[in-house]
Symmetry: C2
Subunit: 195 residues, 2 copies
């Protein structure tokens, strides 16, 4: 649900398709749903470790500051990215990890789905793990319509790959639908640590 | 030459490959040259007309505000984008247009190169016009090393397309090398309009 501003951080290592996933989500929300959206990559000496990230900020109002400050949702496609960016997450934010590549999950307020295994086994192509993850993120964020997400995906992927990408997106959505968010702790901070 | 901050705006219509060109330039400057770089897309109701843009901000210092405020260089790949974004350009900024698609050039402080015609005739593939333009922008901006631009391009393009993309980049660089920037007026404002 969007109030003023919803921030999503896609993180992983180079080559995992983080940026394209972020762009598709941004176009779904911005071009198709008509929200205000900024999508940003930051590079350079300040980028921590080998982890890379792509950010999407979505709002019903014009966006003053386009970068994510405290993400509402952090997608971590590998352990390094999870370790690097977890501390940025909002206390009531949601961590989403690739269970295939992230063993050590720093909070129980996390959704762990084997994106890479699903891409490899169900779709026969590990490369579409980012699109499986995009489906899950799109569903869990509740800030973008799934119809728009499909449309933005179809407009963006190379010719001849529409079918497998659509299957990947839907597999991610279905896996996320099976998650019971109400069973998760409400905050990433443990209760005794809460103020 | 970078002082504190150099802003580039890539503009055109959807499907012209604006975003990927901006990302490659951003990765060249950020990942390979070690500069501070932010690369941003903005979507939504505030986006003017049918024109789309992708921005790159490059600095030697950490970047406080990641969006382009007054671009130092505006690339316009079609007339609509040129009309829409020209007024954003800094007074001493440089306009670079695709001569194939932009007839009405609003300033004589402009470099006009037929990116689309070059892509079609010299490279046999109109789709790489964005990479020809990227080569010209990389050369004219003087904020990124051409070696880094090649490396970032090679890391980003799909397998099997490295050769044509590299030729496209180099064609754009060579076309830009033939431009005599000193022959251009120093400002996009005509002298009688200057304060």
């Amino acid at each position: 649900m969007i109030t003023d501003r919803y921030e999503i951080c896609f993180s992983g290592s180079g080559g995992q398709g983080i940026i394209i996933a972020a762009i598709i989500l941004a176009e779904a929300a911005g071009v198709y749903d008509g929200k205000h959206v900024c999508q940003t990559q930051t590079y350079g000496p300040e980028v921590r470790g080998g982890a890379s990230k792509a950010e999407v900020v979505i709002s019903n109002k014009p966006i003053d500051y386009p970068k994510a400050m405290k993400p509402d949702l952090l997608l971590a496609l590998d352990q390094a990215a999870c370790n690097t960016y977890f501390s940025d997450l909002k206390p009531q934010g949601l961590l989403v990890v690739d269970a295939t590549l992230v063993d050590q999950i720093p909070t129980s307020r996390a959704v762990s789905i084997p994106f890479t295994d699903m891409a490899r086994k169900e779709l026969g192509k590990a490369l579409v793990a980012n699109i499986v993850a995009l489906g899950a993120v799109g569903y869990l964020s509740q800030v973008v319509s799934l119809k728009s997400l499909e449309a933005a995906l179809m407009a963006k992927v190379p010719k001849g790959t529409g079918n497998i990408n659509l299957k990947a997106l839907r597999a991610g959505i279905e896996a996320a639908e099976r998650v019971d968010l109400k069973a998760l702790p409400r905050s990433i901070t443990r209760e005794e640590e809460e103020l």
